[in-house]
């Protein structure tokens, strides 16, 4: 077949879509903004629930890419136009590519934690994000304070930039709870003498093996406190004072910790909206790519020939992103065969 499919975004969803379509015999053009494939998964150290290394997933996905797939890294897609059933993909250097179908797999970006001024990210050195912690695990195998010391107490703050009307992100980012529990376990395994506290509003342990992770964390001695962080303050020495309400005791609570980890939520990428508006497609009420039907057409958009997969439609975990990529690939195949 001569039909080309454009896949916008080279994270795990995009790679998976491209490799399945390649195996089905299509020419795939895979566009990636950064200078390498892999997307957000490259930033993680180990994945829940099994704690396997993140790079394995990327490597395995990429090994399935066929030669029918031409990969364009360091290339930003600016617009897509449809006419006479064909798509023209315009990129940042002015060139354009033709395709018979398009799959959007542009993914997500993390919430900018400095927007929660009262949490002190960007101001207090020992307030970091969950991604910063993953980088620490990659580099040092354990968390480190700003001055290089080992923290004796770490606090995880769930729901930063999620379920929060003040920053206009009312939705739940789905995976931060299980990530926090996983990271809490990892800290206890690396530093058994360090106390770990998780401050949550609710614990969303929705997936296979996640509830067991919660129990595993408790067995290791992680303390779970139901109460949302109100503010942080820095004391002498760079330690952070955390103020929450212990809602189950109906009393305010404070403690001093050495490191605060903010579980930042998953946000839509602003550039995706630009691509959508060139196609005349809407974003949904959370700012992510709108899908055609939540149950029966979750990888389709309202425009024929434009498909979606992965976290660009909303917060998602890697398993489900990869599955949706495979579903989108099959729907592209079905669409192009009926044309």
């Amino acid at each position: 077949m001569d039909k080309s499919v454009a896949v916008i975004g080279g994270g795990v969803a995009g790679i998976e879509t491209a490799s399945i379509l390649g195996h089905l015999g299509y020419n795939v053009i895979l566009f990636e903004k950064e200078n390498q494939l892999g997307g957000n998964v490259l930033s993680w150290d180990r994945l829940f629930p099994s704690r396997r290394p993140a790079h394995e997933v990327v490597t395995e996905s990429m090994s399935a890419l066929t030669t029918r797939c031409s990969v364009h890294t360091s290339t930003t897609v600016k617009s897509i136009n449809k006419s006479n059933g064909q798509f023209t993909v315009g990129i940042d250097n002015g060139k354009s590519f033709d395709a018979s179908a398009v799959v959007l797999t542009t993914g997500f970006e993390l919430f900018a934690a400095e927007k929660k001024e009262e949490y002190g990210f960007g101001i207090f050195e020992n307030v970091i994000t969950s991604r910063d912690l993953e980088q620490m695990f990659k580099k040092h195998g354990k968390p480190v304070m700003a001055n290089g010391n080992t923290p004796k107490r770490v606090a995880f703050i769930h729901c930063v930039g999620s379920r929060d009307e003040k920053v206009n992100k009312a939705y739940c980012s789905k995976v931060c709870c299980v990530t926090a529990v996983k990271q809490a376990i990892e800290i206890k395994e690396a530093l058994p003498g360090t106390e770990v506290f998780n401050f949550y509003m609710d614990l969303r342990m929705f997936g296979h093996g996640y509830e067991q992770l919660y129990k595993e964390a408790q067995v290791l001695g992680v303390t779970f406190v139901r109460g949302r962080l109100s503010e942080t303050n820095e004391t002498t020495g760079g330690s952070i004072i955390v103020k929450v309400e212990d809602t189950l005791a109906a009393k305010p609570m404070r403690l001093t910790v050495d490191l605060v980890v903010l579980m930042v939520g998953m946000n839509p990428k602003p550039e995706t909206e630009g691509i959508l508006s060139s196609l005349g497609l809407p974003v949904n009420e959370d700012g992510f790519v709108g899908i055609k039907d939540a149950h029966t057409a979750a990888t389709k958009t309202n425009t024929e020939g434009v498909f979606v997969a992965g976290a660009c439609t909303g917060p998602n975990n890697i398993t489900d992103s990869i599955n949706s990529a495979r579903a989108a690939a099959l729907q592209v195949h079905s669409y192009l065969n009926h044309k």
């Binding site: 001024e117 009262e118 207090f124 303050n233 004391t235």
Partner: protein, 357 residues
């Protein structure tokens, strides 16, 4: 602490502050506790900065104390405020400058209410017309007096006689700041620097050579409130708020506290005396307290005004330790002498708080 992170937030919260032709509205209670402050403000603006400030003796209280104690209904407060605005209209000025932070809070709250509910504003116009036959305009600019001093902090620094530097060591003085709750907590966009890391006083301290200190309970209320202290039975609640702040700032060994609210300056000064006498604990060096100053007093000291003319002798926590650190020249014998060298007598010394006679 990464100061760049704070500077970014300070940049995000900028506000319009008028630069001349101010209509000055005094505080109800400041004159009793810190009599020199408002006079110092006028002196700084008129004599030092050559600005036009209209000091109207016809204006009344904004009734904020009554409103926050729930003895004055909101509609009455709005009408009283309308009358003050009408006086300003009569005087020909358009920039409203209140001296009290609670007033500032009342004015921003009322202007915001009228902005969202124009029918309420209409009713207040009616009320005022019926009661006094007066008409008012919304001010072009509403800024607190600390905003004005903040705006001109560099001009003041240029004319400074003393800097906020410890003369003996050459190091900048460590200054703890306290912003009145009604300044930015209600409407963060109306405060310089926002509500989390306010900059209005920190900026002054930096411009005048000092080092602003951030301490964990910086945002905590001093406990003034109105309900809390008006009735003696509630006062424990109020003093506990200040105590929390003192306990938090003590490890940083600040040289003095700067505040922009009349109630806060009063309480952070007076409650140190209260705690020293009731519990025996002092928070300064060696049995001293931490001097608590208003920003006009600090500006006045920096410009070389006489401390006793600034009214610093009326502080319960003595300021001599600060004056000596800054190298300000003053005459200790003149401390309790009034106009024309009249002997005003001497106050009783506290038992636990070090005092200078």
């Amino acid at each position: 602490m990464k100061i760049d992170g704070k500077r970014k937030i300070w940049k995000d919260y900028q506000k319009e502050i008028a630069d001349d032709k101010f209509y000055y509205v005094r505080s109800c209670i400041r004159q009793n506790f810190f009599p020199g402050s408002e006079a110092a403000f006028l002196k700084i603006l008129r004599d030092v900065l050559k600005k036009d400030v209209y000091d109207d003796s016809h204006h009344t209280t904004c009734s904020g104390i009554g409103y926050h104690t729930e003895v004055v209904p909101f509609e009455t407060t709005m009408t009283v405020v309308g009358r003050n605005f009408s006086l300003m209209k009569e005087s020909g000025y358009r920039n409203y400058v209140p001296s009290c932070v609670t007033s500032f809070g009342i004015y921003t709250e009322i202007l915001d209410t009228w902005h969202h509910l124009p029918k309420v504003e209409e009713r207040i116009h009616e009320n005022l017309r019926i009661a006094t036959k007066r008409e008012f305009d919304i001010p072009d600019n509403l800024a607190h007096t600390s905003d004005i001093i903040f705006k001109f902090r560099n001009e003041i620094a240029e004319k400074a006689k003393y800097k906020l530097i410890n003369k003996a060591t050459g190091k900048p003085l460590k200054v703890v700041d306290h912003i009145g709750c009604h300044y930015a907590k209600m409407f963060p966009a109306k405060g310089v620097g926002g509500a989390e890391y306010p900059y209005v006083l920190a900026g002054m301290v930096e411009a005048w050579g000092g080092e602003p200190i951030d301490y964990p309970e910086r945002r905590h209320c001093c406990g003034f409130g109105f309900r809390q202290y008006l009735i003696k039975a509630n006062r424990g609640y109020s003093i506990s708020g200040s105590k929390k702040k003192f306990e938090s700032m003590e490890p940083y060994k600040p040289d003095f506290i700067i505040t922009n609210c009349p109630g806060c300056a009063y309480f952070l000064d007076r409650w140190q005396y209260g705690l020293a006498e009731m519990e025996g604990k002092t928070y300064g060096e060696d049995g001293h307290g931490i001097p608590s100053l208003t920003y006009e007093e600090v500006a006045g000291l920096v410009l070389g005004f006489d401390p006793w003319e600034l009214g610093l002798q009326l502080h319960q926590v003595p300021v001599e330790s600060l004056l000596d650190k800054m190298g300000v020249s003053y005459d200790p014998d003149q401390k309790f002498k009034g106009l024309n060298n009249e002997d005003l007598g001497k106050p009783e010394s506290p038992k636990n708080l070090k005092f200078y006679k």
